[in-house]
Amino acid sequence: MTDSEIKIKSNNLNVYYGEKQALFNINLDIYNKEVTALIGPSGCGKSTFIRCINRMNDVIDICKIDGSITIDNEEIIDKNLDVVSLREKIGMVFQKPNPFPKSIYDNIAYGPTIHGLAENKTEMDQIVENSLKKAALWNEVKDRLNEPGTGLSGGQQQRLCIARAISVNPQVILMDEPCSALDPIATAKIEELIDELKKSYTIVIVTHSMAQAVRVSQRTGFFHLGKIIEVDTTEKIFKNPGNKMTQDYITGRFG
């Protein structure tokens, strides 16, 4: 697969929460080993969309999905699909850092343990070290792996969550406003990390910060009221948007 190939393809995706329709006919392509940013005002369906990709909406009883999302041409919106192996392939980082109330080591080791990725303790140590290194957290925590993950600072917690997500070798990482609870310095670190991670992973990031979208993404999709208004390269969206609404949003006239 080359880098410009489509990794995830959404086709006429409609999502309903009970009577209310949250997404309307979403057609969106996400390219391999690129950062795709999803922007738009609150409640426009960006989070709903990325939670469809790893089927996290399954936990909401009233949520109904129709249409199609494929990853490497395999259908995701399929009742018979095993969500566990899907989520092994597609990791997720949440808005608020949510490390498990366990040690830093156990936070990372949990995923590889349940998926049986390590044969023995040495392999597990290696996975933990690699994941923490990839998440640029190793140097800060290598001496206190047995301390609780909840004792780290907010930015460190979020990088711990990223390390946890990459510990099971996913192909895609979904990030749902990963910096909205962090200060600018921690945000900068996460953004640097995203830049680094895109070499190995396909990343979809939901963000409220236009500046962040410009800094980290190669491609941007603009959502409004459950519809996708415009998708293009980030450069084009921010320099020369094709849609008046996009232009109004990115220039801060609404949203």
């Binding site: 790893n54 996290m56 936990v59 009883d61 566990v84 192996s85 989520r87 092994e88 990791g91 997720m92 949440f94 608020k96 949510n98 490390p99 498990f100 109330p101 949990y110 995923g111 349940i114 998926h115 909840t150 969550c161 946890r164 997500a165 510990s167 099971v168």
Partner: protein
Amino acid sequence: MNKEQRLKKRHNAEKRFRLYGLASILLAIFFVFFLLNAIFSKGSGAFLKTTIDVEINFNADTLELSQQPTKDDIENADYYDLSIDNILNVKSVNGLDEEKSLINLFSPDYEYEIRAFLINNPSFINQTKVLKLTASDDFDQLHKGNYPRHLPEERRRISDFQLNLYDELVNEGKVDKIFNSYLFTKGDSRNPELAGIGGALVGSFFTIVITLLLSFPIAIAASIYLEEFAPKNKITDFIEININNLAAVPSIVFGLLGLGILLATFNLPRSTPLVAGITLALMTLPRIIIPCRASLKAVPPSIREGALAIGASKVQSVMHHVVPLAIPGTLSGTIIGLAQALGETAPLILIGMVAFVVDIPSIPTDPSASLPVQVYLWSEQAERGFVEKTSATIMVLLSFLITLNFIAVYLRQKFERKW
């Protein structure tokens, strides 16, 4: 009203409000103090018993024993004559009436006390030993200062002759107050000085263990299923409403249930810890399910999402992450539920635990008493000895309840997590 007046009014309102709160807390403390004082002042006497020193000569001939008796011989010997002979030697008395008066200073169990001593110390055959024999209830109370000895003789059960005997014994230093081990080792009795809560303690213990074994696993499984797995629909709503209603059902209704189903339909043995345990388990179930569900609900959804997103299955996310975090709340809820069950009286009365049971149960299907019912039974007795026994039992019951609640609070605070 100008600004200053409004300010003053507001400050006064705040002061008044604080005062109301302070007053109600002081009132509550006063009542608790009053209650504890009443129980302690009445009940503390029951932990001591009055004894009278009697020199016993374990004469082998009187016991009709050979000079080298076997253990069986000692156990089966007739101690009545030996007991009477030795007791009558305490004071010189003439005539049957006076002899009877002297013997009545002692609890009717003197014969067994003497026998028990010899069984434990067979080497005392043909030797003498001063034993502390338990005094009868009236003299026990007299010695503790609870007996109205100033009343005219015809209004007392203790005769003037007996009073004299007692006073002489006291002067000779033969009357003593020692720790009342009977209180904890004996079952119920018609004689207050011989009555103990041993049977009730064992009965309550069996009952609580059965309640715990039945209600804890069912309650945990039910709460985990309802909170984590059950779809939210009309049926689960209905179940939820009913659990809340069941927790508020008066406990006596569960007693009726036990009576109607366990005793009448399934013919389980009456007044046993088994039936009591099952009945109380039914009563305790909703009271454990509610705090369990609350503590499961208190685990933030972000933990579940984190586990699911890394690829844990639903069961894994619940068992690896949610349940361990909910354990402290679950345990403290269970302990509080058990403490309530331990103090429950009404349902036990209905399933026949008010029966007069002397023997200490050895298995849960033996008829038995339980602590709260023992309180209820003794509180109806007229003898002064039972009044202090009632309060003493309350003290024991309260100390168990306070211990359980303390453990629950400790667990909650020790393992309380901040997310």
